[in-house]
Amino acid sequence: MKDAGEETVTPGQVLGKGSEVKAGRGAYLSCDTVYASLTGCRSLLPPSPQSPDQRPTVEVIGHKAHGPVPEPGCVVIARVTKVMARMASADIMCVGSKSVREKFSGIIRQQDVRATEIDKVDMHSSFRPGDIVKASVISLGDARAYYLSTAQNELGVVSAESMAGGTMVPISWTEMQCPLTGQIEQRKVAKVRA
């Protein structure tokens, strides 16, 4: 139920004096007054006890939720689009457990595929286009793509289709088998906890 203290505000409305409150999300400070910049509910957050600045933070929660954005250190689920000699491109589809609103590009470099013998990695034996991989974001990367890594046991190919078209079953951390033809294909497989 809505708190009696919360009220709806629109952009430009005054939320408080700059000397009394700090501007949080959805608010900004101009000429010693804090104004709202979004339409939504105004809420007051108490200051943390350790900080020297004891002003409460005022923030405005808008009703439009924007999709999640990958941050360094989070685990993402991506679909491999291109496999090249020294890297593989993937489209990030989920961040954690939430799916993204707009797809982000990621790159898995040869040295980030696994933790051991990183210079002897063959990209085509690790990923194929169309594979669904679980990877972690190392950094924001360059203007074109995030840098992803599968260098952990729990990261790697989660689901893949064989050349015959069947969904493959993992056998070991480097091999997956097609249930229709029995053919074994090489991938960097993720250890999914049962």
């Binding site: 139920m1 809505k2 709806t8 629109t10 952009p11 430009g12 409305q13 005054v14 959805g26 900004y28 101009s30 104004y35 910049s37 979004l38 339409t39 939504g40 509910c41 808008g62 009703h63 439009k64 924007h66 707009e102 203007a143």
Partner: protein, 241 residues
């Protein structure tokens, strides 16, 4: 031709200081991030906002702020005779630029670097004051999309016919050949972001007309705020807050 009768009534029965009826609706285009329909009397405009999203032309990307793009079009059926308008004609390009600069002044672009915000405005029915209606509709659509703004931008036009300042001109009064002043303001911060006039006016009369248009803008701002509050309350009710 008499635009203000001796009793003080205009051609459509309004008083000189009276605005036309305002009506607004949020969320008309479900696919867009934010959208609004805004009506000022018979002028009806629809605005759709997409963004912030990834920049489509890498070369135009700005490192420190968001790129704002705006497109103004008039539907074929918007005026009296159905006319096919070319997309890049001079009037459309000019009004697109005017709306973009006006909105850019109030959107907090520094919070969204490397991204793009698209504002599409289309006139469905034109009866004077389309520029103002477009800016008001764009403000509502941006607020609906949750894009941070430092204040709402509202706009209104005023003119001077038969020695009387008139607020919110319709098409007949606009094509009379008298001056037409369009003002866009940030109502709470009390700042002007748009000021345009065609034809000439003596300085003291201009100040009166601009003051009248500014008051009209403040009235539009009050209405827009009510619409946004009402819409937010409805959304909260649906979510069960």
């Amino acid at each position: 031709m008499e635009f203000v009768s001796p009793e003080g009534l205009r051609l459509d029965g309004r008083r000189p200081m009276e605005m036309r009826q305002l009506r607004a609706e949020l969320g008309a285009v479900s696919r867009a991030d934010g959208s609004a329909i805004f009506e000022m009397g018979n002028t009806k405009v629809i605005a759709a906002v997409y963004g912030p999203r990834e920049v489509q032309h890498r070369g135009q990307q700005l490192n420190d702020k968001a790129l704002i793009r705006c497109e103004y079009t008039m539907a074929n059926f918007s005026t009296g005779d159905r006319m096919r308008r070319p997309k890049g004609d001079r009037r459309s390009t000019e009004i697109s630029l005017v709306i973009r600069q006006t909105m850019e002044a109030c959107i907090m672009t520094h919070l969204m670097p490397h991204s793009q915000i698209d504002i599409f405005v289309q006139v469905l029915q034109a009866d004077g004051g389309t520029r103002s209606a477009c800016i008001n509709a764009a403000t509502l659509a941006l607020a609906d999309a949750g894009i941070p703004m430092c204040d709402l931008v509202t706009s209104c036009s005023a003119g001077y016919l038969n020695t009387t300042p008139l607020l919110d001109l319709n098409y007949v009064e606009d094509s009379a050949g008298g001056p037409d002043v369009t003002v866009g303001i940030l109502p709470k911060l009390d700042k002007v972001t748009l000021l345009q006039m065609d034809a000439k006016l003596p300085m003291d009369i201009f100040e009166n007309v601009m003051q009248l248009a500014t008051e009209g803008c403040k009235a539009v701002a009050n209405y827009i705020r009510e619409v946004l509050m009402e819409n937010t309350k409805q959304l909260e009710n649906r979510r069960g807050v």
